[in-house]
Symmetry: C2
Subunit: 495 residues, 2 copies
């Protein structure tokens, strides 16, 4: 057996452990009764430990050195490189820092669940300071090992190849036009007569509609399922993708759009190349590319007028409301593209969402680079919210800087992926439109060419290309935020 | 840390791995989409390998030797003994035999799923011969290590302390009265006018009724749940017990009685002493004792007249059939205690069931001891079925010697546990009746004293007592099959 083969076998072993961990996490979120949690958490921690021990086995250093001298195919070379990247990510941090991080993160997150409700920034900030201190240590170690800046080294965990330099430039451009665009859209929508659909929308019917739409969007039910959890997610493994949603009897659109979003994530997973399952190179390219697929399905595809023309009659039929004007195609189209600045990121529409991300990015970048401290966050948050969205969060920590879970466990560097995903999605759509008449295809109920394009250009590429090259091969250029701007202008300012 | 403590820590680690394995097995049977199976099976096999490597770690030999010289409490001594028993069971077989067994078992079971339908004994018997050959090797090794006979050594995996000598005596007694009893019951029931409940019984209503009855039987939904699978089972872990059933629109009683049966298994698991969770001594005593709890709930409790008085009105209400005579208390009582010899063990009633078990026991005992060969099975099966139940299986392998899954993967020694469980259950009920008026308690809807008795005498004892001593402490005597006989006579021949 060659060293490359030994490394492949080892990576597949790790992947099998991750498989069971993913299924048990899904179960914990979607099925497990409350009283099972303590023992389950301990069992999961044990499996994580076993994974970590295997992932950091001392023999791997030599295996990688030797494998690099072996004669490998072009694909194997990239596979080796991705295995090495994954191994380095797992190995860089000293064990005691990993443990301290885990403890501080659990403590901060656990307390946050109560403190957020109580608007208790004072106590929360003390836990967060501990988390930030360790995140800075982590960033320093990762920076030294990779030659990147501290924040770039953190971002590389989620969005390899992305740097502050690029993001500052991209987000900088967005900031020049976004606040004005929001105002224009608001002005244009001011005269729209939008009817909010009125519940109850029985959950059984919402579920049936969700499954129907998932089917139409090509979700493969032989390799996945839909369930319910408090916080919707896409989990499981490529051969068995578990997506979840949360139904609200008063509003069917939130669950439905959530299901469509997760279906985008799911199709990426289900579409990954089978012959590379279980290896790092066979995984999704990055969090941003993953989000590009969910946002392609949710934003580019499903909130488009021609798709609403498919969706609206199905909704009227599902809820047996043939004469409900709120479920007319025109009204649902208006309702699905309504723009309104708000405090909460996860509730934000497509137009105001980037403002939430830019704000978080600017704060967490400076926090990790040591330019600001935890104590500075509330004021900065208020200032930026006011500047970008015209909303003050003074004294309102609950709906301000305490609303997200990401920082509580030290996941700094993740936020940009959301907006990068929206931009990649717009760029994919622009490229696709050059090859086919997407609107006509949707009107003809012929979505297959659209899925085929994504499958060929994104899903089947897995991690064989850098994000830059993936974009270049698929769209002819690296990330160009103009496509996102054009998409927003076209959807929200034209016609 | 003492060696005893090291062993405890090690056992808990193994238990955490088994925890995740149990949840993923449940998922595989109850939730997993078909296309997830191949990767899941591989992932589960990897976890089993990790478990096996830990369970057979070379250092354990010394740890056990040293722990035995340490000063331990009485409970710790029993705990140590149970850890050692578990360790020896896992360690006795050479690795290549374990692997050969696993391969031959998978092959035989996989082919059996088709061969049974095709009545193809000829090809099945060739696979079974390979399985039996390896099972005999296993039995020989286990016999040498334990000083037991070969079949006893196999049975010790499921029913420690039980021997052929005892079973031959017990089953021998049963054979003297069972065929005549069956005839008497049949004669008595001949004039009964029983109406078979007619479907459809909508699954949603069956499920609601099942959950209601589970609640009344004390199932703790904070620590467990009910789902659907092709083959009903009780899985999961004590803090999170997963039971399953299979609904049939045409017949609500099969799923309901199945749910009640699994609820008995579940309450045993949920009732195990929390402070010993994760250690061998904290587990259920044996397969037979486990089955005694499910059969106590299903047979002793739920098919009793006073319980049917609770159940029948709930069923009428659940299915909105207030005037359906088939759901009258009297009819459901008759229907739930109908006795009819049949070919299929899993469909058998309480009275004929032991005949199916005795037949299998006699055959598998002689097979493992080398007194008969696989080729002899069909003739023996036909002869014994004719003798015990008056039914010939000549040429009918599908409903004869090919009906069970147990032998396909070499689980010889398991079958007696079913009938031992029925006998333990009858003996528990007889003892309970000496302390309280069980029928009155049921009529008063006051089941708590019944559950308390089981909790005190069985559930909380976990594996601290041998089965003999558990029975003696709970009932004043070791296994006495007269209680089972008296139960059958009282229920089926009196009034
Ligand atoms: Zn997403
Ligand atoms: Zn059972």
């Amino acid at each position: 057996m060659t060293y490359y083969q030994k490394l492949e076998q080892h990576a597949k072993k790790l992947s099998k452990i991750s498989h069971l961990s993913a299924i048990c996490s899904w179960d914990q979120a979607a099925k497990m009764p409350e009283g099972g949690n303590a023992a389950r958490s301990e069992a999961m921690a044990e499996l994580a430990l076993i994974h970590h021990e295997l992932a950091t086995a001392p023999s791997l250093t030599e295996w990688f050195a030797r494998a690099e001298t072996e004669s490998l195919s072009k694909e194997q070379k990239i596979s080796l490189q991705e295995m090495k990247r994954s191994w380095q990510n797992d190995n860089i941090l000293p064990a005691d820092l990993v443990e301290k991080k885990s403890l501080a993160g659990s403590k901060c997150e656990h307390a946050w669940r109560t403190q957020r409700k109580e608007n208790n920034w004072h106590e929360f900030s003390q836990n967060l300071e501990a988390v930030v201190k360790l995140a800075r240590e982590e960033a320093q170690i990762r920076a030294e090992a990779t030659g990147l800046s501290r924040y770039d080294a953190m971002m590389a965990l989620y969005e390899p190849g992305m740097t502050c330099e690029k993001i500052d430039s991209i987000f900088g451009q967005v900031k020049t036009w976004l606040p004005a665009l929001i105002q224009q859209v608001r002005a244009k929508q001011a005269s729209d007569q939008v009817i909010t659909p009125k519940g109850p929308f029985p959950i059984a019917q919402q579920k049936a509609l969700s499954l129907d739409i998932m089917g139409k969007l090509g979700f493969d039910f032989r390799h996945g399922r839909l369930d319910v959890s408090t916080h919707p997610f896409c989990g499981g493994v490529p051969t068995d993708v578990r997506i979840t949603t949360r139904y609200d009897e008063a509003d069917f659109t939130s669950a439905l759009m959530g299901v469509i979003h997760e279906t985008g994530h799911a199709r990426y997973e289900q579409g990954l190349p089978e012959q590379w399952h279980g290896l790092p190179v066979g995984q999704a390219r990055s969090m941003g590319v993953h989000e590009s697929q969910s946002l392609f399905f949710e934003m580019q595809l499903s909130r488009s007028k021609p798709f609403i023309e498919i969706l609206a009659p199905l909704a009227r039929e599902a809820f047996d409301r043939n004469n409900d004007k709120a479920l007319s195609t025109d009204n649902l189209a208006l309702f699905s593209t309504r723009v309104e600045p708000g405090y909460i990121r996860v509730d934000a529409d497509e137009v105001t969402y980037p403002a939430h991300i830019i704000l978080r990015y600017e704060i967490e970048r400076d926090l990790i680079e040591g330019k600001i401290e935890v104590a500075d966050i509330p004021e900065l948050w208020d200032k930026k919210m006011t500047e970008y969205l015209g909303l003050s969060t003074k004294g309102n920590f609950t709906d301000g800087c305490m609303q997200d879970i990401h920082w509580t466990d030290g996941s700094f560097g993740y936020f940009p992926s959301y907006t990068l995903g929206a931009m990649y999605a717009a760029q994919f759509m622009a490229a696709m439109r050059r090859e086919m008449n997407v609107e006509n295809l949707i009107r003809e109920r012929n979505l297959q060419p659209i899925f085929n394009w994504l499958d060929r250009h994104v899903w089947k590429k897995a991690s064989f290309l850098s994000t830059d090259n993936l974009l270049k091969e698929a769209t002819g250029e690296t990330l160009n935020p103009e496509h996102f701007k054009a998409h927003l202008e076209s959807r929200y300012l034209e016609d």
